[in-house]
C-alpha cells in the first residue's frame, strides 16, 4: 500500500509519512483505523524498524495519527494537516509552471478541468 523509492532523494521516513498521508486523504484509512506495527511494515518494505518508528512519531507529532500504549497507532481525527501539505505541493508545482511561462488563466483553466474530471469520475462510480 505504501511505495518507497529506495533510490529517491527524500528521506525514507518522509516517504512513509507521505504514503500514509495519501492513504488517509484518499479515504483508504479512516479515523481510528489501526496502522500496521513498525515490525510488520519494516519487514514488508525491507526497512529498518527504527526508520518506521521515526515516521510514526513524526505523524503523531503532526496530529495525523495517535498511539495507544501496548496497542499501536491509529488514524486520528483529521484537522486538515494533510490537505495543507497537499496544497504546499500544489504551490510548488504552480510556481514552477509560472516560471516556465504558463499564464494564470491557463493554470485556472487546468484546475477547472481536473475538478470536472474528478467529479464526473465520482459520479460514474456511484
Amino acid at each position: 500500500m505504501i511505495n518507497i523509492d529506495m533510490t529517491g532523494r527524500a528521506p525514507i521516513y518522509e516517504q512513509i509519512c507521505k504514503g500514509f498521508g495519501e492513504l488517509i486523504a484518499g479515504g483508504v484509512l479512516k479515523e481510528n483505523d489501526k496502522l500496521p506495527g513498525a515490525r510488520t511494515l519494516a519487514k514488508e518494505l525491507g526497512l529498518n524498524p527504527n526508520t518506521v518508528a521515526k515516521a510514526y512519531s513524526r505523524l503523531e507529532h503532526d496530529g495525523i495519527i495517535y498511539s495507544v500504549a501496548g496497542k499501536g497507532c491509529f488514524v486520528a481525527k483529521q484537522q486538515g494537516n494533510i490537505q495543507k501539505k497537499l496544497m504546499e505541493n500544489f504551490d510548488a508545482a504552480a510556481e514552477a509552471a509560472i516560471r516556465a511561462g504558463v499564464t494564470a488563466e491557463e493554470l485556472k483553466a487546468r484546475v477547472d478541468t481536473v475538478t470536472e474530471q474528478n467529479t464526473s469520475a465520482k459520479e460514474g462510480e456511484q
Binding site: 529506495m6 533510490t7 518494505l45 529498518n48 527504527n50
Partner: protein, 311 residues
Amino acid sequence: MIEIKDVTMTFEKNKGEKENFIALDHVSLSIPDGCIYGFLGSNGAGKSTLMRLLSGVYPVKSGSITIDGESVFDNAHAKGNMFFVNDETVQYSSFTLEDLKKYYSGYYPEFSAEVFDKLIGKLGLPPKKRMSQFSKGMKRQAVVAAALSCRTKYIMLDEAFDGLDPAMRKIIKTMIVDEMMDRNATLIVSSHNVAEINELCDRAMLLHEGHLLFADEIDEIKSGFCKIQIALKDSVITKEQAAAQGIEVMQCSTLGSVAQLIVKGNSQDVIEKLSKLQPVLLEAVPLTLEEIFIYELEARGYGADILKEDK
C-alpha cells in the same frame, strides 16, 4: 554500546615494500545499542580490518575498542556477545550444517539449536550436505543463519548481501528485523551497495584510506549535503562567487545558463545565502547517499582521474 577510540592499525611492510601499511588512521566511532550501523567505504578503505578488530581477530595496538566497557581481544566473555560473519566462507568447506550447528553451540552460550533448525528450514538448506558443495549464496545464507542462532547482542556482517539474490536479501532482512525487535540486537553491516545500506541502516559511516570521513544518523548525513540549481540574471555563477557567500562547493557544472552545485550544508541555509545574489532560479534537492559517497571520495581524488580521462 561499542566504543572505538582513536584506533590506528598498521600492518608491517612486506619484503620489497618501503613503508608499513596504515589500514586505519586514528578512527573514533561509537555504535549505540539497537541500531543497524552501515560501514561504507572505498575498496581497501579498512572496513574489514575494523570488523576484525571489533571481533577480536586482531589485537588493538593503538587506541582502544570496548564492547559494553570490556575490551574484546582474548576476552571470551566479550567475544560471546559478538558474532562476526566474515566475507570469506572457505573455512567452513568441510562442514555440513549439522557440523556447523555443533561447532557454534560449543562456542556461544546462548546458541539455540531450535532457532538454527527453524532458519535452515525456512531457507531450505540441506543439513547433511558438505558446505563445499553449496553455491556462494547458500554458504552466505548458512552463515547468516548460524549468526542469528548464536543470539549474540552484536552481529557483524561483512559484505552482508554479497552473493544473495533479491528474494533472499529480503528474507535475510526480515530475519534481521525480527532479531532487532525481539532481542534489541545491534547489527553492523558493510556493503558496497549504498542503496541497500540506505534502506536497512539508521546510522552509517564512511571510511576512505583508513580515515573516517563521517559517521552519523543517515538522515543527518543527508541533510548535510545538497544539490543546487542556480541561474543568475545575466551571468553564470562561478565556484568563487558561491564560495564568497560562505558556501562550501564540492563540485560545479553548468548547463546553458544554469549551474549545478554540489554543496556541503543544510539546504535551507544554502538557499538563504545564495538568494543574496538575487538569482532568477534557485532550487535545492537533497543528495542520495550514493551521490554523497561518490562526491566525498571524488573530492579526495578517488576515481577522479579515471573519470576525467573519459571526458
